[in-house]
């Protein structure tokens, strides 16, 4: 019985971790749809931004934000 209970707890923990994970991904995807990102020519890939800077000779304007919290 005790084993079953522990197993249930472990499953619950795994389930909640998966839910949190999904939530973080959803929040990130939601952030990527923010209107400001489509208003100007934002690049969200750092390597691509540096490549673009190399090609064009333009300086990078880097804006740091987060999606996991408001």
């Amino acid at each position: 019985m005790r084993h079953l209970f522990r197993g249930a707890l472990a499953l619950l923990a795994l389930g909640s971790a998966a839910a949190a994970q999904q939530s973080l991904e959803e929040k990130r995807d939601q952030k990527l749809k923010s209107p400001f990102l489509s208003k100007a020519a934002w690049i969200t890939d750092y390597d691509k931004a540096r490549e673009e800077s190399r090609k064009t000779g333009r300086v990078i304007f880097a804006y740091f934000t987060r999606s996991y919290a408001p």
């Binding site: 990130r28 400001f36 690049i43 800077s53 304007f61 880097a62």
Partner: protein, 232 residues
């Protein structure tokens, strides 16, 4: 900012001169460049820096978070890049200009700058004046960045007070001026030094006296100054 300044046409216009990069810290395992904020010197959000193609920080944006503010920092970045270009092929004079620009942007510690200066020969009087100004601003900002506690703030105030009493020039950059005089005034009040307190009061009044949000602070300090003078 995302719902305001970054949505404006003025920002879009400003952005045409730059490569816009948005780093989203997601905490999603596997997402790339999740530590970039810290690597580039950021400690909180939002954080804005100008980078070159190699990812070197050219300037941290500390001014107004709107198109005009970004443009101002952008101008400093362009000036810095120009000086850097000249230093790559120029002599000691160009290299000293580059050092001054690095000091202004916080790219070099004062102690390291002083070591570099020794290897660059004798500066012209004009360069010497600019160098001294840059060193003063950088010294103040370095001191302020190291403050971790009330005791640290007190120590910084004492240091600025001693600089002032030794006749050293006050800083001139906006961010250094405020911290320098406010901390110095706290120390001057503690030491009941009305003259030093008044010097700070006048310097800040000249620079920020028109700000509506600063009126209460100036009123309080005016009272303190009056008491300091009376207790002489």
């Amino acid at each position: 900012m995302e719902g305001g300044a970054l949505l404006t046409d003025a920002f879009v216009e400003f952005s045409k001169e730059y490569v816009l990069y948005c780093n989203i810290m997601s905490r999603v395992p596997g997402d790339k460049h999740q530590n970039l904020l810290m690597e580039k010197g950021g400690q909180g959000f939002p954080y804005i820096v100008f980078l070159d193609a190699e990812g070197n920080v050219l300037a941290k944006h500390e001014g107004a978070r709107d198109a005009d503010g970004f443009r101002e920092t952008g101008k400093k970045v362009q000036a810095f890049l120009e000086v850097r270009r000249k230093a790559e092929t120029g002599g000691a004079e160009a290299k000293l200009d580059y050092l001054i620009a690095r000091l202004d942007l916080g790219h070099v510690k004062v102690a390291d700058a002083e070591r570099e200066i020794r290897g660059l020969g004798t500066p012209s009087p004009e360069q010497k004046a600019r160098l001294d100004e840059a060193l003063t601003n950088a010294t103040v900002l370095e001191t302020v960045r190291e403050i971790q506690s009330d005791e640290g703030a007190e120590q910084a105030g004492k240091k600025f007070y001693e600089m002032h009493k030794a006749g050293k020039p006050a800083p001139t950059s906006d961010d250094a001026v405020q911290a320098y005089w406010i901390l110095l005034m706290d120390c001057a009040e503690e030491k009941k030094d009305a003259a030093a307190f008044e010097a700070g009061f006048k310097a800040l009044k000249a620079k920020f006296g028109e700000l509506p949000q600063a009126q209460k602070w100036f009123k309080e300090k005016e009272e303190t100054l009056k008491k300091l003078k009376e207790s002489k």
